[in-house]
Symmetry: D2
Subunit: 352 residues, 4 copies
């Protein structure tokens, strides 16, 4: 059994990976760490886990929390992973970090990201960056090697945009200066900590755009699209939030290059995803929405061409807490331990 | 493997038992029947099941739909089960019916129930009533025998009230003339068919009481409480609906009999539920609500005494589509096939 | 024009009375005071007021905030009004306080209330209590006199319960030991300050009971029912919260006294409310809910008798931020200034 | 007093204009007509209007419904207005139609629109089209003349897009081949009639795009943008629906023409809207969303330039039932009767 330690167990990312690991046939949770809720049982913080995970939450420096694990999930905000990953790696663990700390393999890219979120641009573990893998299996699957021990789980918006645009960029379907990502997220993407704009009465009938000056996930999107294109790519990115709990829907636009046909578009998306079991393709007539990926690791893509304006339009649907966070982290764990990607992720969601 | 047929697959009750059976280690879905959606794949009606249940939905009289099964779930409205159960039983199946058709073991009780919902009081399969079991395992567990082949799954409100009040009535804690059931349900309890009062704009910020003249579930509640009390019991029952998808919260009141102490109350509830793995007990200080049973077969009870007024107050929480419907039906299946009650039901829900 | 000063302008109670005063033909807002948001325009805090109320929010000790007003609304939490009301009264203002500070006319009752909410039981302005009026016009209308200058606006739950039970108690319809108040509130009743349990993802599909050990509004309910009964009355009170923005629905129960008929019940409610323009009576067949009082000063009562159990059941609907707070405060202002009670309150709500 | 008749009183558009006319100082409702709910009082259909509008709903051919009015609102679906407008005009009324029936001034444009929504492309009152005014005051104000008697109220999506893009097109800020309208609507835009996808449980945590093959409002948007540009303009238009009651948020994109500066953009929007009292301009840092126009006739525009990609991004916020429907219809009435545009529309909304 893979011994799993979860740092940041008290947050949505922590409870998410907890729920998934409880169902995983080859892993067990051996340690829960959090700054908040220390000394409480996980089931006291999350009563739905009563009888399922009555494990005590430990402080990071508790002696029991220092015992070695096989995998450590840093379900933590920016800055935590880069401070503590080194010690976990030294004890032989593989590390999967949810934040931006290990999404970049060099200090320059990290610094640009850090400035965008107003954090110190100097990385605390720069020597680890070159070995980190950007944990988006559908784009980087070949980079997971036996020796890989450090993964930076992608941002939720980035996940939805990259899965939606990668085939178009890789297969040169679109004008690279024309890309627009219009992204709508549910509220849980902002985490568990209450704030004024996500207070129920302030949100129940309210939608809005935010961070128009520049969302940090843009950097990941542009980095991976540039890698696929072989040259620099920029996108216009608009983050919006709607009164929902779970779900991201990103509408992705790009002008078709001359001569590209709708049939070529469909074919490119099928070809790109032929090994991606968690990506499902639909056409414009499918009646799908975010609810159909809710609670799962799937990304559903509606691939469409507006023929009048010769514009590619892809609607990308994920559960921000799953493919956008915890279940993708588990998919990463499976890859790190040479398990089938679907292990522990082979369930449909629950409807309605 | 238990071969399971689901009649009424297109509704919420049908998709609920489908999701559960897909995870059940000893059962497989062999047939999906519905009046609506005939000829479609289940995954076309419910796209989240794409890749999980791409089975074609059959008309009831389709020759493939007539093949024998080991268990048939009638996830159907009142009147269907009583018409078709006989044939299924004749083919050797065990039958679990979601409606009121088999919740009563005699024609008199059924007739009273039928009149309440304005249906024909003459039962179409009266010979089957005496052998039917009221499928509330926590109250009727000893009645499931090897030969039992017909179960009437309880009403969702009745489930929440009976699990909350049974210990008090059985242990003679309360004045039997003082019982009040104040019940709040989420909208999915009314099923999948759209109607004016559950149209999103009409419901998003609206709660109301309904059917004040008499809700049909009252009859089940009073029947089983009377059996426990050994004499007739009546309750005041108020059905209410709030803007939620899943959940029933019933506040249950009764005046304590002279001499009964809060300690005796707690003890009676513990004693009553010592073998009921799906009932969890909490005291007044627990911060629990319906979300903590969401997607599960659990009933969480807050057992409290208002000492100033010497009144028992139990807050009963279930997921109306699970313990109030599909997962309780699966628990019934487990009992009918001598499996552990928890088989296929051993998962916590997902939060948030 | 009545010069109105609002203390606590930044909260829901403050913006509520602001919106109402903007439409009141005989009042104008002359001063907005708040501890938060000082120096901002009201329309910066509440952008929907852009062009309607671009008034600067002042600190309490700002010299402009100290100028006399004709009426001061303390839309503030417990403790503020008792500290500052004296000075406002001295400057000639009438005072309407939203909190529990002036809901009791003697220090003993206040102390009991204060202990319930874990505050200092010693009132800071005890000399003012005897002259305060409990601001529930439908019960206390005759107590508003020309000289009245201090009103304690009722608690929102108390409003819903008292309007629902007062006729039954006054007309001796029910056994006074049998009263139960099962109260459901929308989230805005907890105010503007975000907290964990009202964070959107934690609340969107969650309902729960809370403060079972004793809600402070119980005291007001019992005090006024006791006054109507001429002897001590106690109630069992259960507070619950559902995922809504606005609305309280209280189900109120009491066993009918021998000989009381359903007709007498209806008549008593009509008689009691014959001058109460903001109370509307419905019978059990009316399809009403909280949405039908949303944004208004109305209380809609469904008056019903469960004849099988001889139990009175009243369903009381208010908007917790209106009849439960701001619009009732305005009704109080109208009474204090001898205006028709409906002035500025003569609008229906908006649907849906 | 302007005598107003409302056809289609039973729907959301009907109740919306009813609520507004009840507050209008120079109009009174003299007749309510509907196919549904005939014989009921308006307050029976909409209980919040009890005491405000207890008028009986008449069948269209009721003799009282045939009496002349000064203005007739056709709050009806496509096809009704074109059948009955002629008779109302003949009796001297001015007509304001909510549907697409009179949004086009020639049969060709109408036919294209009608085909898009799968209706008969032959207009039933073609002689009226040339005199109809497209009722978007901010773009067409000069076309309202004393003799104007027929107005086609714009589609809600079209309203949000045109107010957001008109300044950019008129002032030649953007490349006309680059326009994208990414539009999110609340559910009430689909009307009062329940359907499967807007059933509460199906919608509460679901967002989706729809009608990707071509939304009919695109035609209005392109028509008016083409008029402003002096040449044909096409847009890519994506309709989406989110779990809300009221609100449209449209993100509008276009590539800036060479040499255009962000300052010129801001200036163009200010210049264009200098007489548009219902359009409020904000910059990218304003924390606004749809809730801030809820229940009002305002359109709030966030005008932004993504300088990295030289792309104009306008976020347009309206209440789909108000500026997108009923309150804009009232603004049209004011223009038709030479009243100030703001008459009866001079209220802020209610928050939260």
């Amino acid at each position: 059994m893979i011994r799993a330690k979860i740092v940041g167990a008290g947050g949505y990312g922590g409870v998410g990976i907890t729920e998934l690991l409880l169902r995983h046939p080859q892993a067990q949770i051996t340690c829960l760490v959090s700054l908040s809720d220390v000394g409480l049982l996980m089931s006291e913080v999350y009563p739905h886990l009563t009888g399922f995970c009555d494990t005590k939450i430990l402080a990071p420096d508790d002696s029991k929390a220092l015992e070695p694990a096989d995998v450590v999930f840093f379900a933590t905000p920016d800055g935590v992973g880069q401070e503590f990953a080194r010690a976990e790696l030294a004890k032989g663990a593989k590390v999967i970090d949810y934040s931006g700390d290990f999404r970049f393999d060099n200090t320059n890219d990290y610094a640009e990201y850090a400035r965008r979120i107003k954090r110190d641009p100097v990385h605390k573990a720069p020597e680890l960056l070159p070995e980190s893998v950007y944990g988006l299996p559908e784009l980087r699957r070949t980079q997971y090697r036996k020796a890989t021990r450090l993964v930076g789980n992608p941002g939720c918006f980035a996940m939805s945009c990259l899965l939606g645009l990668a085939p178009a960029v890789k297969h040169k379907l679109v004008d690279l200066t024309s890309l627009i990502c219009d992204c709508k997220t549910a509220v849980s993407g902002a985490g568990k900590k209450p704030n004024a704009q996500f207070h129920y009465p302030a949100r129940y009938d309210q939608m809005n755009a935010y961070r128009l000056a520049g969302h940090q996930h843009t950097i990941e999107v542009e980095r991976d699209l540039s890698l696929l294109a072989g040259k620099p790519v920029q996108v216009t990115f608009t983050a919006q939030v709607v009164p929902m709990c779970r779900g991201i829907m990103s509408c992705l636009y790009g002008t078709l290059r001359d001569g590209i046909t709708p049939q070529q578009v469909q074919e490119a998306y099928r070809e790109f995803n032929k090994d991606n079991v968690f990506v499902r393709l639909f056409d414009r007539n499918a009646a799908i929405g975010t609810v159909h990926v809710r609670g799962t690791n799937y990304c559903n893509l509606t691939v469409d061409v507006d023929e009048r304006t010769r514009r590619l339009r892809v609607v990308s649907h994920i559960d921000n807490l799953m493919k956008g966070q915890a279940s993708n982290a588990l998919q990463n764990m499976n890859l790190l331990f040479s398990l089938p990607e679907t292990t522990g992720l082979d369930q449909a969601g629950q409807y309605p």
